[in-house]
Amino acid sequence: MSHSVELAGIGMTFGTTRAVSDVTFKVAAGEFFSILGPSGCGKTTILRMIAGFIEPTEGRVLIGERDMAGLGPDQRPTAMIFQSLALFPLMSVRDNIAFGLEARGMSRPERRAKADDLLRLIALEGYGDRMSGELSGGQRQRVAIARALAVEPGVLLLDEPLSALDLKLRQHMRAELRALQKRTGVTFIYITHDQSEALAMSDRVAVMSDGLLQQVASPRALYDNPATPFVARFVGETNAIPGRIIQVQDGHARIDTALGSLTGRAGHGAQAGQPGTIYIRPEALMPGGTENTLTAGIERVDFEGSFALVHGRFDGGEALAASIPSTRLAEAPEPGSRASFGFAPGHAVVLGDG
């Protein structure tokens, strides 16, 4: 059983600090939904308001269409995975998983059977009698998930649970979380500051900055059609070149910049005569391209395995980031040289400033 979650104009003020302002979105039942933003943007506050640890100072939280006002975390159909996991170190793995069932008054044999089922689900069969301290990072992670799933929540809230793991394990756990979500059908609300994590796992992503909701969209739409300059810069790498928009036609916008006139898709707030910025993804910049050409001084080339990242400065002074697939490494410019790049208009977006 899974629930939808709706935030209707919620806001939170701590003393004089405004942590969250007027956030509204709806998460469908069974969706994998991420809230992405830099630290301090209010995403954890939102999660804690959904869980019921804090009451919003404005607005309403509805879970499964039901208003949650006045209900504590123990009365809501949610379960939370904490950043630190918060496993109980003095209890065995099985007792950890069965804790919520014990609190619900389930008998010992029933609890045991259910905990063992969950241990099977997370592929830790036979680990029930170990102490949580004896497990590896990834195993502890899975126990925390099993402990939360044991109480059959309608919504699972995850507060950056992968941040303590190393890269390889993190990537593995991403796939595992995604698979678990599909299998259980529970609504997942996942908090992260890691954009690749959010893009890789989620059905939809909400981007937050300074307590304000910036955009709610699918990962692809977020990447291709950012609604605000913040989203364009925060989600993925980008080359941002400011200028003045001179023409908007047929979904394309021409913008006059210090590097000449460039064309990209017209995005939010792109109006002729207004100041704007063109955002070009690093992978869209082709060395020696003939359309929309830009010249830049090359500072260094970082080989990262599957691609090389070219860093430098455009003639207008903006930072250059271009990624070149390893298969075409021969085309990469030399550090210290000058090189020209081009991009297809469809691979860049022009947004109005402000």
Binding site: A51, F53, G72, P73, D74, T78, A79, M80, F82, Q83, S84, A86, F88, L90, M91, F99, G100, E102, A103, R104, R147, A148, V151
Partner: protein
Amino acid sequence: MGELKNRFGPGLSTIFVTLVIFWLAGMVLAPNLMMIDYALRPNLPPQALGGPEDTYSLANILYLAGEPTHRAIFFKTIWASALVAGVTFLVCYPIAFWLAQRATTGQLAVAMLLIIIPFFINEVLRTLAWFIILAYRGPLNSALMNIGLIDAPIRWQGDGGVLAAMVYAYILFMLLPIYNAIESLEKAQIEAARDLGAPTWRIHTRVVIPHAKAGIATGFVFTFMLAAGSYVAPALLGSPGSRWFTEIIYNWFFEGGDWNRGAAYALVLLVLCLAVVLVTLKLVRVNLTDVAK
């Protein structure tokens, strides 16, 4: 020793070590050995010392075993000290939990100050304050009569008065170890337990108390030992019916003039206290080294 030498040089470190040895040998070991020596010898007039009657025996300890009043007071002191420790725990645990997990930094500072300030005053004077509060025509009785809870004054002195004064006197020794233990408990664990649907009492019995076990055991050990060895509170606030074992030891030394029997009684109290402490720690599976921390 090597580390000490590296840090402070040979001169200072020799002084430190000598002082510690002097302290342990002169202030701890020697008096206790003397007490054992006294306890095992009969009380003799000076001219008979070293004579044929001056031999080691358990007679003084057996005297306690055969004296029903003293024996009863001895066991009462033991269980009453345990009761003091238990009541002190009940008083301190909620305060310690609030201080460690709920209070803001400002509240913590104020509360700690309020709790510690009375301890700047001598224990005798603090007990005397209770003596005044609990007096037959004292403020507590008149307050209770004024609000109509009682019709006639109550004689608080006796077991109740001793308990109240001791609990008050030893609050810090229970509060601080428990506070330290709970303070190290990650907040998220309490939140996780609550999030999983545990009611408050279960959060405490399953998460907070197991985590704070060593601190609680430390508080119990301190409070129990202090209560069992307390003299001021029972002497000031007790009644003839609520005599404490320390009072009997005192009497042997200063009124009965029998230091040997007094030493034997003190020895028995020391040994039994140690036994109670060690058994308690064993039962709750806490090491003595954890307590020492």
